[in-house]
Structures are given as C-alpha cells and as structure tokens.
Symmetry: C2
Amino acid sequence: MKAYKIPEATVMRLSIYSRYINQLQNEGIETISSGQIAEGVGVSSAQVRKDLAYFGEFGTRGVGYKVGELYGHLMKILGLDRRWNVIIIGAGKLGSALALYQGFFDRGFEICAVLDDDEKKIGTRLGDITIEPLEVLKERVKERDIKVGVVAVPAAHSQDVTDKLVAAGVKAILNFSPRVIQVPLGVTLRNVDLSMNLEVLSYNLASNR
Amino acid sequence: MKAYKIPEATVMRLSIYSRYINQLQNEGIETISSGQIAEGVGVSSAQVRKDLAYFGEFGTRGVGYKVGELYGHLMKILGLDRRWNVIIIGAGKLGSALALYQGFFDRGFEICAVLDDDEKKIGTRLGDITIEPLEVLKERVKERDIKVGVVAVPAAHSQDVTDKLVAAGVKAILNFSPRVIQVPLGVTLRNVDLSMNLEVLSYNLASNR
DNA sequence: GACTGTGAAGCCATTCACAGCT
DNA sequence: AGCTGTGAATGGCTTCACAGTC
C-alpha cells in the first residue's frame, strides 16, 4: 500500500465513502455505481471514480462495484483492517465524551487510557476506564503499543502534552485544543478546531448569502 | 462586507489568525509582521498577506500590522463583532460537552437551548440550561432569534433533526453526526466528523511514512 | 446500454517575486 | 532596510469526455 501522492481530500472522502458503503451493505445492497455513491455522499461521480482509481481497479465496467468487496478494499486502504489503540489526554467534558464515544470503537479504535493531571478526576471511572495521572503515559503507550494520541486539554497545555505524547512514542495526534501545535517529522497531526467551525458559519451568516 | 469569492480555506485560516492575534494582544504585543503570524500558525507569510488582502489593506508597508487594529478587522470579517445564539440538538455525551464548552462562549456563541427526545434527560440541567423536548424547537428559535443549530444526535436521526432545524428557521448547521446530510440552498452546513479525522490518521499510519 | 478508468482540460489555491511605501 | 500588497507563475485537485469493457 504505497501509492505515490494521494490528496488528503481523497483520503477524507474515502472515509466518508466507506461508511456509506457500510450502510448499503447493512441494507443488503450488493452492487453500486459511482453515480449512486456520488449521490449518497454529495460529490460528483467522476470524483468517486478518480478517488478509487488511485488505489486500484475495484469496479467492473458496465456494472459498477460489488458492495462487499469495495468495503473491504476501503477498510484496508484506510488501515481499518486492524484495531488501533488510542490514549486520550484530558478528562474534561470533551475528553470524557470522546472516551465514551461508541463511534470510535465501531470503527476499530480502542480507547485504552484516559489521563489527566487533576487530582479530583484521577481514580474516577469513565465506562470501563479509570482516569490515571499523566505519569503513566510512557508506560501505557509501551505496554499497549499505542500509536494514536488525542489532545483534549486547554490551549495553554496542548503543546506541552503533545511533546509528552511524542516523547512517549505516539505516531499520530488528534488535537482538539484551539491552538496551533508543532510535531516533529514522522508524527502525523490533525486538528479538530470546534470554534473554527462555528466561526466559518458565523462568517457565512455575516456575509449573508 | 461582500467580497467576491473567498476560498473557504482562507476563512478557516482567518479564524486561526484571529485567535493567535488575540493571544499576542494579551501578551501586550503591539505590532506584528506577516512573517511572524505565519510562523505562529504554521503557514507561509505570502499566504497570510494574501488572505488578509482579500478584505482590505490592514498593514503598513515597511512596518507590519497593528495587533489591536488587525484583531478588530478579523473579528468583524468573521462576524464575531456580535453574539450568536445557538441551539444544540442531542444531549448525549457529545452534545452535553459542547453545551458546556467555554470556548464557544468566549468567541461570542451563546448556547440558548439543548433539546433531546429522551424522557430521562428532559428536565435535567447542563450548567444554566435545562434540557427540553424537541417540541419547543420552533418556539426557542423564534424567541431567541437563533441562527445556528448544532446536530449531535446518532446518525440515524441526523437528517430528520436537520430538517426540523431548517423548518424552524435556523440558517447555519454544524453537524457532528457521521452521516452526510442535505440542507436546502440558503442554509450553510459544516460537518465535524470525528471518526473521519481518526481514520485519516489511521490511513497515514498504515501507509507508514 | 451502462458504467468504469483515465488522459486532458479547466479551475482554483498557493507560492513567487517584486514594485511600492515607510 | 524592512515589510506590505499584488500580478504572474506554479502546482494540485476536480471536472470533462471518451475509450474500453461487460
């Protein structure tokens, strides 16, 4: 799986496609065309075909794609043909919500640990997980081979926490704090900036079209 | 405020810039160059200048930008020189976390109501807010002039809830459910797909670079 | 006849590079 | 000398359009 340069937008859409295809699969549909996928997720059919073509020839001309097969390909491409262990730093409202979010588990992500530096939270439980102090970070990452870290702490601490995650050996970070953070080469970073999303809406409302 | 066609990426960056500039302002810094902003948020200086130039000439050649002035311009451009009333549908873990998220309030978004159809949740409180049934949607939107709706319900109900928000008169929707939803022209939609973000990380880990 | 896979064209965002101002 | 504002060049993603296949 070493295609040359795949647009990030393509990878994001593959994730969307995969969940739509999964939905179709559950409905018992067996074959689908790029046009139907396109309609289902709101893009053009050419886009769907181009995205898939980066990774191989999954369809049959004149027919379309077999739902089950395509789903398998997509999950493999996305690296979801295995489970990933995840650690969350920050057991505030957001961190707790993420820890309990069923959607992650359903897609193969297992929250192995939730850490916080607040004495009052340490020892309390979130579902099956007991909140632990930051000191156990390195240990948990090693013993559970955790590759993914989630940063759900206030902006002021996000860089500090990120550095610790990196030092512990985490290779991918999902940052929910509204602050730009730096990671070294070899570590992948994605930001989910909740305020930014609302502010883009605000912009659109204000420049009212 | 009716610039012709602004890239969405530009608007997203303006939101980032504005928070970085705010940070500088709090540190007492008075003047800043595009290069310094660029370094602070991780883009190129040309990008910063181009983004700002869509909206006017805010800087002084040879000098840079006055922090206070630029912040004012950015907030005005983003429509954050006023407060926006927001309604959240879904009082699960995520909806509750969003309702209590201080970051929204700090940027001018006020959560006016949280609705859910679960009898057990209705009547319970989230901070200052009492969870109410979906039936009050139209009433709340009217009386508080709510323009922004947040969808934090399971995928199966997201389109239904969205239709109700639109019918009630909401003009912008932030969707947290992992399902593609449709809105009519004149309503702005943004999606925050938590699983998608993790899956892009998974993709990057799997095609390991 | 229907639909995929794909080179070419089109379009849009980013980067370059420099004139213009302080 | 330093930095902004901007037309031109570049690069990259999306759309077009059609040959290839069933």
